[in-house]
């Protein structure tokens, strides 16, 4: 294997992206826009997959793109391009100005007030160039070691979708016609393994584990990740169905995060203002059990959901979403805040094109004191869910029905694996029925949740 050279990055044109973003805003304003906002994103990615000890894929590249949102009074439109040539950029600006003639006047449209704009001070610990510091062969070794640890863990691990190592960096610049210009860089690296175990009857099970960090120095060891991946896979062997029943259900942290995600979608200002959420109109009301406190914090140093400003150039902040079961705040951007007569919570998520949406900062459920083992220990018969399949969640009504697999709890212990079952209920009741919260909060992404127990759910099986 020859040494991988990272020329893609080194040879990158050192364009002044701040200047470019400001220039594009200026061009839009000269072209007749009443307000404008420009985003420039560039990024590099490296990924490698090693399968059964052999390199399977090696991918390395960089790209950049630019987007603009313009306002013609209360009419808004946006365009984007990957073509940074003079003519490409001219066409992007011109099309945006043209498009902003055909959209409707929306009294709530607009960029934030100048006084709201800004960027958090200080080092947020988001960028570490060390994610690219390993030489090519070492990166491949990270992937190889992760897979090997899984394969070596048990003879029943007979196959694999591979071990992988990924690294990426991103650079984002935002400028608008109030004179705001901000930028930040973020880095990311991860290792993962996807082993496959086979039982004596030939039936296979697959699972995975991973570690992700903003710096190589905080990445968990490939050996540890591979071992956990193997354990998670092995415990699924011999899975069976169970009879339909109403039992307590314990969600492991990975699947518990999906419940938290449903709360996020439920308090998302976009669905609130159009009444498309089962939580619309519930501000100040009790929507969950007393011990449920949910925080969104875009300011945590090193966090996966951290940034110095949101997608509209407003400094990120910490928002208490639910406090002891009472809904304290929706999550909003400028538009949805205006619609609801509230203040933005700096959760604007700006893609290249379109109206800014709403995204989480570091969004989590406040941990409790019990260990996962203690939570499971208190259940005579129940289900421990480790994976969901499918998308059976209706946020308008709160109806919830998802495919699941996991382990059956009997006498306070995890016993045999189960699969081909469903977990059903309604989110409105589920939040009240969160009866236990674990102490095992750990961020493996922007949304994190400790182990939780929810009562009153229907487990659908035979």
């Amino acid at each position: 294997m020859p040494e991988t050279q990272l020329e893609t990055r080194n040879q990158k044109l050192e364009t002044d992206l701040r200047g470019l973003a400001q220039d594009i805003v200026q061009r839009a304003m000269s072209g007749g826009a009443t307000a404008a906002e420009c985003i420039v994103r560039e990024g590099d990615e490296f990924s490698t997959v090693v399968r059964l000890g052999q390199v399977e894929t090696l991918k390395e590249s960089g790209s950049k793109a630019i987007g603009i949102r313009v306002f013609n009074g209360q009419r808004a439109a946006s365009t984007y391009s990957s073509d940074f040539s003079r003519s490409g950029l001219d066409r992007m600006v011109k099309s945006a100005l043209e498009l902003a003639k055909i959209t409707s006047e929306d009294p709530y449209a607009g960029i934030p007030e100048a006084s709201q704009l800004g960027s958090l001070e200080g080092d947020l610990d988001l960028y570490h160039s060390d994610v690219y510091s390993l030489p090519g062969e070492e990166r491949i070794n990270y992937a190889r070691r992760t897979e090997k640890a899984a394969l070596d863990y048990d003879p029943r691990i007979k196959n694999s979708e591979g071990g992988s190592f990924d690294a990426a960096t991103g650079h984002k610049v935002l400028a608008n016609s109030h004179g705001f210009v901000g930028e930040y860089r973020r880095s990311y690296c991860s290792v993962a393994a996807v082993p496959i175990a086979q039982a004596e009857d030939g039936k296979m099970q697959r699972d995975y584990w991973f570690s992700v960090a903003r710096t190589l120095s905080r990445l968990e060891s490939p050996e540890e990740v591979g071992k956990i991946a193997a354990q998670r896979t092995l415990r699924r062997l011999g899975a069976r169905k169970v009879k339909t029943a109403r039992v307590p259900v314990v969600f492991d942290p990975m699947v518990a995060a999906s419940i938290l995600d449903h709360i996020f979608e439920g308090v998302n200002g976009d669905s609130i203002y159009r009444g498309a959420s089962f939580l619309a109109g519930k501000l100040g009301q009790k929507i969950a059990g007393d011990q449920v406190t949910v925080i969104d914090d875009g300011t945590m140093p090193g966090g996966f959901g951290t940034s110095p400003f949101d997608g509209e150039g407003i400094p990120t902040r910490r928002t208490v979403v639910i406090e002891n079961g009472v809904l304290k705040s929706y999550l909003l951007n400028t538009y949805t805040a205006k619609k609801l007569g509230l203040q933005t919570t700096a959760n604007a998520a700006r893609g290249l094109a379109g109206t800014p949406g709403i995204g989480p900062g570091n969004y989590f459920l406040q941990p409790g004191v019990k260990t996962p083992k203690e939570i499971i220990g208190g259940i005579p018969e129940g289900l421990y869910v480790t994976e969901f399949l499918g998308h059976g969640v209706n946020l308008v009504t709160g109806d919830y029905s998802r495919g699941a697999s996991g382990l059956w709890i009997s006498g306070g212990e995890l016993t045999y694996p189960v699969e081909e079952i469903t977990v059903g209920g309604n989110l409105k009741e589920m939040f009240f029925n969160i009866s236990e919260i674990g102490n095992d909060l750990e961020f493996r992404g922007a949304i994190a949740c400790p182990t939780i127990r929810i009562d009153g759910l229907t487990v659908g099986g035979e």
């Binding site: 991988t4 790209s63 055909i102 196959n159 059976g392 029905s401 229907t458």
Partner: protein
């Protein structure tokens, strides 16, 4: 070679350049190299609260270079189509190989390909005001359907993708791929109750499709109808029961339960529950399932796949027997099977892999009403949200967005979103009746695999599955699974 030559005209590419890039890609050895040029322009519009809130247009262009050496793939891409950057990407991708340089074939051959979507004026170039009219009409029609319809969001999106694929084996393929769709989402509200409905459709069609064949009113009424219906839906039963799937979009069952498991990469690696089952019975003899990339105007269709191979109609399951896999170049080379033209990718930033196109079951002999009448207690599912499958253990899930109880052979009450869950390799063995009413979906499907999304189609006639697990929330009592 006298077609439109998009990249030759717009980026000054020549055959000589292409040969040079391929030579650079094979400069460190390797069995095969290819270049995928893509120029994608797109438009989208959204009406919400009866006003056009957003309009967007964009352009994305780039080139991906792939080098295959044995089972290894090196990949690099650039969004700058200058010769230096493409050569650089080619040399980066070449790092996967190690050995003496290979020489690519000299000269390119373009295989004859179909013309499945011959639009004269691609919708992306059509007047934006006509598209505004479409979304506004959808909004009006949905609100007019019933006063309980309180929220409507109607979207229109189109794109035009120009691609050029050249390979070191002399492959040369160009295609211009239009794609357009409308979506309408409604929320119905009464005091204390609300429900949603969604509908949409399109294909590789021109804008006039939405002014003739499938109007905004068609999608709007369908969306509103579902939302109103769901207001009165009761809780779905839970447990194993007979399930009848309606025709069309419920074909997503085939996509999840068998389609993914038959993608060649999983079978080459022996990670699919279907690995090694060729020639074996995986469905009842009433089931014949195909993947057909050659249907005119369809969302999942392609003249050539993203590796330049013409698409085809591939029989996956014939009268219950597993016949073949869906293959791309890499898998066909390594497995020694034919390339079925299923190598697809999301964009120039992505490595191609075997993917479905339009996957459907051929019609049978049963009248749909006879199928319903044959069910004592079960559910009739006619619309679905999404689905998902774990290809290794074969378990799949999909969620019904419109379903009804069947009691003593009659369709009775609508039920709330129920999840259906089963095992891919045996669910079709329990298909006891197949209707004569094959229907393809309206053209809304997007399939995700390894983080790559591609447009697909699905279809199915009315079928009866004798036993499938339904994940509802209703309590069981002595009267069966009624509330």
């Amino acid at each position: 070679m006298d077609k439109n030559r998009f990249f030759f005209e717009h980026y000054g590419l020549t055959e000589r350049n292409l040969e040079r890039y391929l030579a650079a890609a094979l400069s460190a050895g390797g069995d095969y190299a290819d270049l995928y040029f893509e120029y994608l322009s797109s438009t989208s519009l959204m009406v919400d609260e009866s006003i056009v809130k957003s309009a967007s247009q964009g352009i994305s262009a780039g080139c991906g270079v792939r080098v295959i050496a044995g089972e290894r793939t090196g990949y690099a891409y650039t969004d700058d189509l200058s010769p230096e950057r493409i050569l650089h990407a080619a040399r980066t991708a070449a790092l996967i190989a190690s050995g003496p340089a290979k020489t690519p074939a000299v000269g390119f051959q373009e295989k004859p390909a179909r013309s499945l979507y011959p639009v004269t004026l691609p919708s992306v170039d059509a007047e934006i005001t006509a598209k505004v009219e479409l979304v506004m009409r959808a909004d009006t029609a949905a609100r007019a359907f019933d006063p309980r319809i309180k929220e409507v969001r109607a979207g229109y999106a189109d794109e035009l993708r120009n691609i050029l694929v050249v390979g070191s084996d002399g492959t040369f393929a160009e295609d211009t791929q239009p794609l357009a769709r409308m979506n309408v989402g409604c929320i119905a509200k009464t005091d204390g109750n609300s429900a949603r409905g969604t509908s949409g459709g399109g294909g590789r069609v021109a804008l006039d499709f939405f002014f003739g064949e499938k109007t905004p009113e068609f999608f709007a009424k369908e969306s509103a109808r579902q939302a109103i219906l769901q207001l009165d839906a009761r809780e779905a039963p839970a447990g194993e029961m007979e399930v009848v799937l309606g025709p069309g979009w419920p074909g997503v069952l085939l996509h999840e339960a068998v389609g993914h498991g038959l993608e060649a990469d999983f079978n080459r690696k022996q990670t699919s529950a279907f690995a090694g089952l060729i020639g074996k019975r995986v469905a009842s003899e009433k089931c014949t399932v195909v993947d057909n990339g050659t249907m005119p105007w369809r969302r999942g269709s392609l003249n050539v796949d993203d590796e330049g191979q013409p698409t085809q109609n591939t029989v996956l399951i014939e009268k219950g027997i597993l016949k073949g896999y869906l293959s791309d170049k890499l898998s066909s080379r390594l497995m020694g099977v034919a390339d079925t033209g299923n190598g697809r990718r999301e964009s120039y930033e992505h490595i191609p892999m075997p993917r479905m196109t339009n996957t459907y079951m051929l019609p049978g002999d049963d009248a749909p009403e006879d199928i319903i009448h044959s069910v004592k207690h079960g559910i009739y599912a006619v619309n679905f949200g999404g689905g998902q499958v774990d290809i290794t253990n074969g378990k799949f899930v999909f969620s019904a967005s419109e379903a009804y109880l069947i009691e003593d052979g009659q369709i009775t009450a609508p039920i709330k979103g129920a999840t259906l869950i089963g095992n891919g390799p045996d669910v079709l063995t329990r298909v006891s009746m197949v209707g004569n009413d094959l229907k393809l979906d309206e053209g809304v499907g997007t399939c995700g695999k390894d983080g790559q999304s591609v447009p697909v189609g699905v279809g199915i006639p009315t079928i009866k599955v004798d036993r499938l697990t339904v994940g509802g929330t209703a309590k069981k009592d002595l009267g069966g699974f009624m509330q």
